[in-house]
Amino acid sequence: MLTRPRDSFIALDVTFAGRGWVIKQDMSDDAADVQRVLAGDVEAYAALVDRYYDRCARFAIRMLGNRDDAEDALQATFLRAYRALNRYQERDRFSAWLYRILVNQCRSVAARRAHRERVFVREEALLLNAPDRSPVWTGEDEEFVQRVLNELDPLLREAFLLKHIEEMSYEEMSALTGVGVSALKMRVKRACDRLRERWERIQHD
C-alpha cells in the first residue's frame, strides 16, 4: 500500500470557479490525511485535528459564549467528522465540510442549553444571550467583545461570525448553512446594525 507523505501533491483539484480556473492546492494535505485514515491509519486523524482545531475553537467560543459548551461542540464535531469521513468527497473543501458539521453542532449545543435553562412561562429573549459560566479570558477586551457578541440573536451571530471572522464568501456560507445568500446578507447586515446601535447607546450613556 502506498503511503503518501503529507506535504506532497497527489492530485491537483481543478475546478472552474467564477471567471477562471482555480487550483485548490491546500486540499492535497487534507485529502491525503483523509485517505490515510480510511486506509486504517487512525493517527493520521490527529493531523486533521491539529490543522483545524484552533480555528474551529475560535468559532465555537464566539458562537456559544463559553468554553465548556464550545468544548462539547468541538468534541462532537471532530467525532462526527471522523465517523463520516467515508462520506467526505474530495471535490469538497475539507474545511467547508468540517464547518458544516461544526455549525450544526454549535446549534445543537445551544439548543440543549436553552432547553435546560429556560423558564418557560415568560416571553423572554433567547437565553443564549446570557453567558452562564465564567470563562477564562485572556483579557478585558476579549470578554467585552464576547459579551457584545452574546447579545446578538444566534442566527445573526452565526452569520456575522462566518462572514467576518471566518471570512467566508456568501456562497460558501450558503452551502454550509443551507440558507439562501440574500437571507444571509440580510442577517449579516442586521448583525452589523445591532452592533452599531450598541455603539450609539454607549456613546450616549
Binding site: 480510511l38 486504517g40 455603539w199
Partner: protein, 199 residues
Amino acid sequence: MTDSDQHPYVEWIASEARRPVLMDPGARDRIMAAVRAEPVPTPVPAWRRLLQPRVFHMSPAGSALLAAGLVGIGVLTGVATSNRGGRAAEHPRDVAVLPSQPPVSSPDTMYKFVIVAPQAGKVSLVGDFNDWDVAKTPMTRAGQSGLWTVAVPLSAGRHLYAFVVDGTTWVQDPSAPIAPDDGFGHANSVKLVVGGSSL
C-alpha cells in the same frame, strides 16, 4: 473582507473576535482518545456514495415485518433506555421506523398498539387513557416474532402513552411523535385520534 462602509466599531469587534482563543490543551488529546475507541470508517465505493443520501437502513427484523405487510409499527429490536431530562431516548442503531398507515379500526375506535421487544418478559401499555396504571393493560406476545400487541378503545383527542417493559423500563413508541419530558424523566409518545384516523 470588510465592506467599504463598515463602521469602525463593527470592524473593531470583528478584529478582536478574530484573535485566537486559548483552549485547554488536553481537549485535543481527548478527541483523539475518543476517536481511537471508534471503529475505523471504511471507504464507500463511489457508485454507492451516489445512493447514500437517500438510503434508509432497516434492521433484519424490520425488513421481515415490512415483507409481512405490517407497517405503521415501531420496531424495537433492543430495549431503549428511559431518558433523563426530557431528551429523546438514544435509539439503538437497529430501530427502523416504518411509514405509518391508517389503523385498522372498527366503529368503536379500537386502536392496536404494537411493539417488537423480543427480549422482554412482559410488556404493559400505559397512558392517560388508563390512568398510567401498569396493571391495567398488559400486552400479549404474538408467537415467536417478539411482537407484543394490545387493542384499546380510544376517545377522540390527544393521548400520551408509553410501553413499560418488565415492569421497570419505560419505552417510547419509535413510530410515534413524542411530547416533552413529563416531569418524571420520560418523554412519552403521542397518539392523535381525530375522527377515526390517527398519526
